[in-house]
Amino acid sequence: MPRTAAPAAHGLLDHVLRARSAVPLLALLILLPVVAHALDEDFYIGVASRMLIFALAASSLNLILGFGGMVSFGHAAFVGMGAYTVGILMRDGVSAAWIAWPAAFVVGGLFAFVIGLVSLRTRGVYFIMITLAFAQMLFYLMSSLEAYGGDDGLSLASRSWLGPGLDLSDDTRFYYVVLAIGALVFVGIARLLNARFGHALQAIRENETRMAALGFAVYRYKLAAFTLAGAIAGLAGALLANQTGFVSPAMMQWSQSGILLVMVILGGVGHLYGGLAGAAAFLLIEEAALGYTIHWQFILGAVLLAVVLLAPNGLMSLGRRAKGAP
């Protein structure tokens, strides 16, 4: 296998996490509960947790969609399987986060590995459809398993147990745990993208045949990325189950996979912050429209349509365009 030369700094394939944008963002997210508490709007701490969890799931989808060129239409299935892992373990008496959350990570990755093994042999529209097919199978499987609540799902008795003095039932504390995990995974994804693996993945997106001719094991690279994305989605599912206190097949419906796709497209496919921006924008629009009218979906739809027609490459591309960069 050829050794690539040391990449030029900030090349085409690099997506460097710059301190001047990441640090203020992190500071803002850290201060958010303090501000919300001061304004007596504690409700928004829960909203922000939800936003970060979806940002995690959307970022994992962006890893394969934006940087690997794999349009998966079944990503919600991995989120759902992660959530079910936490729900089922808790029902059987295992409420320790140290066991349940890594288990959700592993379960999400395992399902992604098996589904990817078959799906990655297809291309383009067929890949979209076969991932949808597998996700639907899992959706119907979970709806049919009466032992795990069937259509009605499972209620969690409490949030996962993290350690003495770390009671997650407090929304602010839960928010910080979600933020810590989200930030760690985000930095991990950024580092991965700038490493040899990430460069190979992006090159495969650009020209698969050429990469294969260069001696890269294209299929293995894609499968590894797909598995990792499924695992991160499973972890996001574990957090989501904790946030809502409830697990049901509805989390795995195809429309949920559609929403994750929409978040990534909205934010910007293949932008480092695409998943984060998309999830935040989507849920903010939802929250704002929900406060304004019960017909909030209409407003959400109108905004999405406007984005498609006016900002073809997602919200993150607007900033780039304003700066005059390509």
């Binding site: 049919s144 999405l304 498609v308």
Partner: protein, 306 residues
Amino acid sequence: MNGILVLEQLLNSLQFGLMLFLLAAGLTLVFGIMDMINLAHGSLYMIGAYLVATIAGASGSFWIGLAGGVAATALAGVLLECTVVRRLYRRDHLSQVLGTFAILLMANEGVRMIWGSQPIPMAMPAELSGPVELLPGFTYPAYRLFIIGAGLAVALLLYVLVTRTRMGMQVRAGASNREMAQAMGADVRRLFTALFAAGAGLCAVAGGLLGPLLAVQVGMGESILILAFVVIVIGGIGSIRGALLGALLVGLVDTAGRTVVPILFGMLMGPSAAATAGPAVASILIYLLMAAVLFWRPRGLFPAHG
């Protein structure tokens, strides 16, 4: 006795398959010719059902409702194509997914604003509400027979339109090679609008016919949309013949799964577990079929592209 059960289920699967075909036919042409993923196709089915139900309710006649609703939905299709969908043809699949998903959300909410969130009732025509004795000792609802007849008639009409008319020729040319059809002088713009309107009309036929059997409600389009996608992927994108075969196959698997699986499960696990697991297993079978087709025949059973 068992023969009659099998016959009844075959007719049920035929009826379901034909209705799926009406949805899949429009979807496969839009997908195959315009290379456009249209998630809003199910919304046209929902809008069609609502329009047929409303006009039928207002006029007191199912037939006026059906004709008026289909025409109105086709018109809505033209409007949608000219205002939004046209702008998405040249965009990538992801933008199309986002754009048509937005339309889907707006259509759902628009319908909820106009008709409310309760399902609206729809009566079947009085002259077809009784059963018909097909064989001695075997009766079947007349309305379901009518749906089968109507579905077959529409399928035949589509076949004649696609294989025997100038427009149909252009459609087939477009499905197998769009650029070449354009180069040979087909007016693609007008063709696209007409196709989209025809697809919308077919959706309304299916929605109107199924209205009295199912609940006319918000969200009715989503589950059937995904099934229609399964049908066209199995049949081969862009192929009308593939859509018909795929639809009948999916109808058969679904009905067989719903009747045979509970019987099998009932023997293994007891009746209550079988009742809950049956429909889900039937659905799993459909997606298993699709995954298998995609794995071994990635371009579907009847690929339209050369």
